[in-house]
């Protein structure tokens, strides 16, 4: 016992202390990287990093963003050149966003994202965006009105997705699933710059449509809302529709989508494949403006619902023709559905799905219902 004890103790200490990897680093030696962007892949990678520079100490601590662009043979190699010559030790686990420029997206995103998916430093909850009509560097150098840094600004917007709509956010952990799935094309949200009182402000709006890992086109905010609708993602989108009231008067009325039920079914009739989409949409009236009608008037309510159905049918048709014919990217995942529901058909058509998808007939049935009218069903009346 006496002789065995030191051995036992040293064995315990060795097994306890020599496992795992961790390193001691004082927190003030780190610069926190908030955002990473890839602007160019060929011939050299151009990597942009947004970090926050902390300074001061004592009671006057200051935090300001710092954007650095570096070059290298790969994303990680470019990242390393932050340490030398920039002299900063970037700390990645607190990163918020990952941006790719349109150029990178059109050339194929795999070389740019591979490192992000693999890296053990970058969290899988980082938001992924494609920059539209600008580079990642320009986005990082723009000036968000409220947040300290662009990354925080974009993170805040992405978190508010349910109420602001116009895009479908995506995080790094969903990337591989989105790009690897069979029979469905990937989409990524887009960031663009708008002028706001003399400053360039980054906003998140629209969707980049991919085919394989290459970007093939854009969807704007409204089309992204239609996409959400068809994907069954609950977003409280606003739709302002010029509604015909009475004889020939049109008033812009704002409807908020409060519920949607989507049913997409592939049908195989006599060797002819088609897809039927049944939509059941519920709206609440948010704003009526000067429209003088009361929603107690059943005829009016019915007319409004019919007009909504017409409008949505039109939009969805436009959306479908854009994705089918223009981009030929199956972002709604019709192929995936066929594969699941009609495996025999998929075996027959899967090989050349692009061709079949382009001319796939789609039956569309849209039902709209106004279920709420806020606190008053009557219009605001003003004495003449």
């Amino acid at each position: 016992m006496r002789r065995g004890f030191p051995r036992l103790l040293s064995l315990l200490l060795v097994t306890a202390l020599l496992t795992g990897c961790w390193d001691h680093i004082e927190i003030e030696a780190l610069e926190f990287a908030f955002g990473l962007g890839v602007d160019q892949v060929e011939p050299d990678y151009v990597v942009v990093v947004e970090m926050v520079k902390t300074s001061g100490g004592g009671q006057q601590a200051e935090v300001e963003p710092l954007v650095l662009a570096t070059k290298g043979k790969s994303v990680s190699a470019a990242g390393r050149s932050l340490s030398n010559p920039a002299g900063l030790r970037a700390f990645w686990p607190h990163a918020y966003v990952f941006l790719m420029s349109e150029q990178v997206a059109r050339e194929g995103i795999v070389p740019a994202v591979e490192n992000i998916v693999r890296s053990r430093y970058i969290r899988s909850t980082v938001w992924v965006f494609i920059t539209k009509d600008c580079t990642a560097e320009e986005v990082f150098k723009s000036k968000p009105p409220a947040a300290n840094s662009v990354s925080e600004h974009l993170n805040a917007i992405a978190l508010m997705q349910e109420t602001i709509s116009g895009f479908i956010p995506l995080q790094v952990w969903q990337l591989s699933q989105a790009f690897a799935a069979e029979g469905i094309a990937a989409i990524l949200p887009t960031v663009k710059l708008v002028h706001e009182q003399g400053d360039l402000v980054p906003i998140v709006e629209g969707t980049a449509v991919f085919k394989g890992d290459r970007m093939v086109g854009w969807l704007d905010g409204h089309e992204s809302d239609i996409l959400c609708l068809l994907k069954g993602i609950i977003q409280r989108c606003y739709f302002v529709i010029d509604t015909k009231v009475g004889e020939n008067e049109f008033f812009p009325i704002t409807y908020e989508l409060v519920g949607n039920r989507v049913e997409i079914k592939p049908q195989d009739k006599d060797g002819k494949l088609s897809v039927s989409i049944a939509l059941d949409l519920h709206f609440s009236v948010e704003e009526m403006g000067r429209a003088p009608y009361s929603f107690r008037d059943e005829a009016f309510a019915r007319s409004v619902q019919a007009q909504l159905a017409t409008a949505f049918t039109h939009w969805i048709r436009e959306f479908l023709s854009k994705t089918q014919q223009e981009y030929n990217a199956d972002i709604l995942g019709f192929g995936q559905l066929v594969r699941r529901k009609e495996p025999q058909v998929w075996r027959r058509l899967g090989e050349n799905w692009d061709v079949h998808f382009r001319d796939l007939p789609v039956d569309l049935e849209v039902k709209c219902k106004v279920t709420m009218a806020g606190l008053s069903s009557e219009p605001l009346r003003v004495r003449e």
Partner: protein
């Protein structure tokens, strides 16, 4: 060779065991020359009895240790007025005086010089009569005593206000007032070769295991020390696990707490001259129990107890976790916080561990300073310390602002558990070093080590963690929470071995 060997050779033989001499003058000589020599507080009051054959008498006592009016009225006056029969002499005379003259409830005969010395030192007056080889010891104890006041170290909002004082007799009676039953037993022991301090063991005959009482008595008997000035001496001499920082013997300044512990089957030890009663066995749960838990409504009591557990976690672990997070795991801190901590540490020259130790040291110094100083100055010190030092240290970039919060929270949370606060400092230090060396991994190791230590400890045969590691419903009813009184039907299993029944039947307004 050495001077003390020479003096030892020439020293006169001690008279302590010698019997008294019939001659009053010889007795007085020996008292003055040997037993009570060089003590000018001893009063020798000479007087004579009346009657035909007046006897020479001397009343010997220590000044200010006796009730002077009592001696004058009930010893001196009857003696002076008495005229004992002529034929009485020697022992018969003394017995006559003790039986017929002295009007005191406490008197006994003493025969040896040594006894006289001890008695006089304890506030007893000794009456010597010429021609008698015996003396009469008259109990007239009357030294200044502190009144029974509220104990400063354990004040309560709701509960009895009495606290122990320095007098053993008073203290025993304070406990007896709470437990007025013939089953309440006391046993006296004397400790200290110089002080012969009286120590009392208090227990309930029908609840406490007699083995426990015997063990306590045995350990106290085995103490060989020259003096016992406070119960702290005994506490340290008889405790289990002497090298563990955790207390294995409880102490309290309140009779109600002592009585409650005795009722649970514990033994209380009172030491003359100390207002702190010791209670054994002492378990870790007791450090988190406060008498007010039992006097307040049970939900409130349970909540306060939970707060105490949480505070102890905070006071032992906050600095260690903070160090581990900022030096090893910055990815675990929320982003906004990590940036602001980083910014506030930008110009601080020291690593986190130095900061923690520096500020912890300052805090302990301030606390110690505040404790020892008179109360008004102590308050001033703590305010100066908290505001001026903290502010100045931050603006001078000596420490970072979050560290002030960490140290402040740690310190304040420590005051919630006074019984374990001193150990909390040690545990905190251990955790901080481990966290600084190994991060959260090290902190976890430290916690495991503490749990191992605790579970290996015992107090008077009772495992230190018992009732905390059990799943028996009756035993956990008074641990992390305090269930209502009508639920606590039995006394703790580990302590009360004889009569475990606390509630005789289902009583209380809403017993289930």
């Amino acid at each position: 060779m050495f001077f003390w060997q020479k003096t030892k050779k020439n020293a006169p033989q001690p008279r302590g065991l010698d019997d008294l001499n019939p001659s009053l003058e010889i007795n007085l000589h020996w008292l003055k020359a040997d037993i009570l020599a060089s003590d000018e507080t001893i009063v020798y009051r000479r007087f004579k009895t009346s009657g035909a054959k007046a006897r020479d008498c001397v009343l010997v006592y220590a000044d200010n240790m006796v009730k002077h009016e009592f001696l004058s009225q009930f010893v001196l006056r009857p003696m002076m007025q008495s005229s004992p029969p002529k034929h009485l002499r020697g022992e018969e005379l003394i017995r006559y005086l003790s039986a017929n003259v002295i009007e005191s409830d406490g008197s006994e005969l003493v025969a040896r010089y040594g006894e006289i010395g001890d008695k006089i030192m304890n506030g007893v007056a000794v009456l010597l009569v010429d021609g008698c080889p015996l003396g009469i010891a008259v109990d007239a104890k009357g030294w200044p005593k502190r009144a029974v006041t509220e104990p400063p170290s354990e004040s309560v909002v709701r509960g009895p206000r009495t606290g122990f004082s320095e007098d053993l007799g008073v203290n025993i009676s304070l406990v007896r007032l709470k437990l007025s039953s013939p089953n309440f037993k006391t046993r006296f022991l004397y400790v200290g070769t110089q002080t012969k301090t009286k120590v009392a063991i208090l227990y309930l005959d029908n609840v406490t295991s007699l083995d426990l009482v015997e063990e306590v008595a045995r350990r106290i008997d085995a103490i060989e020390i020259d003096a016992v000035l406070d119960s702290g001496y005994i506490q340290e001499m008889i405790r289990d696990a002497p090298y563990s920082p955790f207390p294995t013997i409880g102490h309290t300044e309140r009779p109600d707490v002592a009585a409650a512990k005795i009722l649970e089957g514990r033994v209380a030890v009172l030491v003359d001259g100390s207002p702190f009663a010791l209670t054994v066995p002492y378990l870790l749960v007791e450090a988190f129990q406060v008498n007010e838990d039992y006097y307040n409504q049970w939900m409130v009591g349970s909540f306060h107890r939970l707060i105490r557990y949480i505070s102890y976690f905070i006071t032992t672990s906050t600095p260690a976790i903070y160090i581990a997070l900022i030096s090893y795991h910055p990815q675990l801190i929320p982003t906004n916080l990590v940036v602001s901590i980083s910014a506030s540490r930008k110009n601080v020259p020291f690593p986190g561990i130095v900061e923690v130790i520096l500020m912890g040291l300052v805090f302990e110094i301030l606390r110690e300073g505040g404790v020892r100083l008179p109360r008004p100055i102590g308050q001033a010190i703590s305010i100066v310390g908290a505001i001026v030092l903290g502010e100045a240290a931050v603006s001078a970039s000596l420490v970072s602002a979050p560290m002030i919060i960490v140290v402040g929270v740690t310190g304040v949370a420590g005051f919630v558990n006074p019984a374990l606060n001193d150990i909390a400092v040690l545990i905190r230090l251990l955790f901080v070093f481990l966290a600084a060396g190994l991060g959260l991994y090290g902190y976890v190791f430290g916690t495991i080590a503490i749990v191992l230590l605790l579970s290996s400890m015992e107090s008077f045969g009772v495992p230190y963690l018992s009732t905390m590691t059990t799943i028996r419903p009756q035993d956990i009813k008074d641990t992390v929470v305090r269930v209502p009184w009508w639920q606590m039907r039995l006394r703790p299993r580990y302590l009360a071995t004889k009569d475990r029944q606390r509630l005789q039947r289902r009583t209380g307004s809403k017993g289930p």
